[in-house]
């Protein structure tokens, strides 16, 4: 009988302890979301550098406009073969692709999210600006000198079984992320560089390494402007075509 009581007590303690950790993990992830998604809107230039395992580089450039966490227009400005190609992402997985050669917008099947984003090592999932708290359940794995190591598992359908992220203890931005596939194999790693611009922390550079192919994709942001007053009208098919 005593043994049963002891077992129950231990179980309760473990559950309580877990919930404390879970609570902490939830708070930490929420704080990371606050750092990453707090601006009302953003405009920026983006340079995408793809380097294969032999060191050969391909460079693409684009402009990006974003409002909140679910409206975005991404427009290529280089190379010539991609200039003008634009993607409008709206809530509820609605995406439009504008190809200047066809002169009209095209609604994209949401299965396009299965593909890599614009031929990079980022998936559409990675590029989505939805907050992590919405998409993932966090678990605090450990606390180190400078970072919290948090494991996040998807709440909804995802290419990943989990992501392990190191979150800066002082400013709560992610320093790195490791992505695991459904077979629990580490497939990609991302390194983040953040810089404070005005009131907001800005991702000046993300480097994604594809561990399967050895290819690296670096995304560098410049000319970042926050809260410029973009409205919903800036994220319409009309604007996509202009």
């Amino acid at each position: 009988m005593k043994r049963k009581i002891l077992l129950l007590a231990t179980l309760s303690a473990v559950i309580c302890l877990n919930s404390v950790f879970a609570q902490d993990a939830v708070t930490i992830l929420k704080k990371m979301d606050d750092v990453m998604f707090s601006p009302r809107d953003m405009t920026a230039k983006m340079k995408i550098i793809m380097t294969d395992k032999n060191g050969k580089q391909v460079i693409r450039e684009a402009t990006i406009l974003q409002k909140g966490t679910d409206k975005r227009i991404f427009r290529f400005t280089s190379p010539a073969s991609q200039v003008g190609i634009a993607i409008l992402s709206l809530p509820d997985d609605i995406m439009y692709l504008y190809l200047p050669a066809y002169g009209k917008e095209r609604r994209i099947a949401s299965s396009a999210k299965n593909q890599n984003f614009a031929g990079t090592d980022f998936s559409y999932d990675d590029m989505e600006s939805k907050s992590y708290s919405e998409k993932y359940t966090p678990k605090l794995l450990r606390t180190e000198t400078n970072v919290f190591t948090v494991e996040i598992t998807p709440k909804v359908q995802s290419d990943y079984s989990k992501i392990i992220t190191n979150i800066n203890k002082t400013d709560y931005y992610p320093e790195s992320m490791e992505f695991y596939d459904k077979g629990n194999n580490k497939i990609k790693m991302a390194q983040y560089t953040f810089r404070k611009i005005g009131n907001y922390w800005n991702t000046t550079e993300v480097e994604m390494t594809n561990l399967k192919t050895g290819r690296k994709t670096k995304m560098q942001m410049s000319d970042v402007k926050y809260d410029t007053g973009l409205t919903d009208d800036d994220f319409t098919v009309r604007k996509l075509k202009q």
Partner: protein, 464 residues
């Protein structure tokens, strides 16, 4: 004259507005206002797979695109094709003096227009000038898209259209709804296939027994160049509800492919030899269209339907009077081609697989050149492609169409067009494409008419 005045007035209004907007906007950087020149160079060569591998196509096209942001709310855009196209067809030494025959070339202004965003009211966009207006949600083949004339020069480039001189206004309501009004003052017919493809759209001609065709000629009757006869107008209401994008459209215009309205038979000998003169004219048609596109469970779905309502019945008269000179009344035999409205439609879907491959499928009832309920055939189009080496190589092993012209006798009334393709990006901006087109089947349809033209195709595209 009136039409010219209206256009001049509209152009002046547009110019004044551009100027007014110029004064209103904040000074912009010179970089933004610079004229941007871009374009592409395409080399497209094709040869037949049979016999001595005759050349089937030779095209070297330089596309120049000029784009200038005039102000934040106005833009100039133009696209010009400069081409060497076709193979020299010299028949006498005098042809050697003509560079255009020795080395055929042409220049085409595909688009040249001014765009005004927020014209008069912030919700109105206006585009004036030569432009290509694309309607419909299907992939390349759009039964609701009939404003611009078909460009059938290259019969394998389905859905290509020429620019029209037009006034195109789009008014945007709140919540993703918009209304488009288009006016095209001048009628321009479709241009027909050239070179080896020249006769693929011509229907077969069956003569009464005992008659032999000696000479054929035709007379094309164009609509008169006035506001009433040559105008085309269109209206399209577009919206999005619960994840489904849709549009309703109406067009009052012409079928750009002429219809045969009268054949005059003239006997030339006593052995049954006849000359035939066909009179061709363009049918004024009302076209009511509807289309939608959505995504369900990751699969993209779309559909389009267009009801073609001719202004009047299309009757083909065979005038045999000359064969019966003693008859007190004209001797004619009438065949009704179109006596009631008919509907063309297309449905399709696509899916992107996790391994980077892509599948696209479409079912079409009634191709662009088919008229009348009983003359519409069924087409199944499919394309499967996969990309490799970071999208540098694209292989489309399954591409083409299956056509049925008579389901009750399908064994003798079908066609297959198989068009596999491999594309390779040598650099970011240089694409090399190798493909083949193989046609087979039985009966009478567009693709059967291409049966003797199985071909190998090479295309180089440099984009700058």
């Amino acid at each position: 004259m009136k039409r010219t005045n209206i256009l001049v007035i509209l152009f002046l209004v547009a110019s004044v507005t551009v100027k007014a907007q110029d004064n209103n906007v904040v000074e912009q950087s010179s970089e933004k206002k610079q004229l941007k020149i871009s374009g592409e160079l395409i080399t497209d060569e094709r040869f037949l797979l049979k016999d001595k591998h005759d050349w089937a196509w030779n095209e070297n096209r330089l596309t120049l695109k000029l784009d200038k942001k005039i102000t934040d709310r106005s833009r100039f855009y133009s696209e010009v094709w400069l081409r060497n196209i076709g193979l020299p067809n010299l028949t006498s030494s005098s042809d050697l003096y003509n560079k255009g025959i020795v080395d055929p070339f042409n220049l085409e202004i595909r688009e040249a227009n001014i765009q005004l965003y927020g014209f008069l009211t912030k919700n109105l966009d206006l585009k004036i000038g030569r432009q290509i207006i694309v309607w419909g949600t299907a992939d390349k083949i759009n039964p609701t898209d009939n404003l611009n004339p078909l460009d059938l020069e290259d019969v394998l480039d389905f859905g290509r259209r020429r620019g029209s001189d037009a006034i195109n206004a789009n008014y945007y309501f709140k919540n993703n709804f918009s209304l488009q009004v288009v006016y095209i003052p001048f009628f321009r017919p479709a241009n027909l296939p050239i070179g080896l493809f020249a006769n693929v759209l011509n229907p077969p001609m069956t003569l009464p027994s005992g008659m032999t065709l000696k000479k054929f000629s035709d007379t094309l009757k164009m609509p008169k160049n006035n506001l009433k006869e040559s105008s085309t107008a269109g209206l399209r209401f577009k919206g999005s509800v619960k994840g489904v994008d849709f549009s309703l459209s109406y067009m009052w215009g012409y079928d750009g492919l002429p219809a045969n309205t009268r054949n005059i038979f003239i006997p030339v000998d006593l052995l049954g030899g006849v000359n035939i003169n066909s009179q061709l004219s363009f049918m004024r048609t009302h076209i009511i269209g509807v289309d939608f596109v959505t995504s369900i469970a990751g699969i993209g779905f779309w559909g389009e339907a267009a009801a073609f309502i001719p202004d009047k019945k299309l009757i083909m008269i065979n005038d045999l009077s000359a064969l019966y000179p003693l008859s007190p009344v004209p001797v004619t035999k009438d065949t009704t081609i179109i006596d009631k409205p008919y509907i063309k439609f297309i449905v399709g879907g696509d899916y992107n697989f996790k391994d980077g491959s892509y599948l696209n499928f479409q079912y079409l009832h009634g191709f662009f050149h088919e008229k009348g309920k009983n003359n519409l055939n069924d087409y199944f189009f499919m394309c499967y492609e996969k990309k490799f080496f970071n999208d540098k190589l694209k292989i489309a092993p399954l591409g083409g169409a299956f056509i049925v012209t008579d389901w009750s006798k399908i064994k003798n009334n079908y066609a297959i067009a198989y068009i596999p393709q491999v594309s390779y990006f040598a650099t970011d901006d240089i694409e090399l494409t190798l493909s083949a087109a193989i046609f087979d089947g039985k009966g009478d349809n567009l693709f059967i008419n291409l049966k003797d033209y199985d071909m190998f195709m090479f295309k180089l595209k440099y984009i700058f």
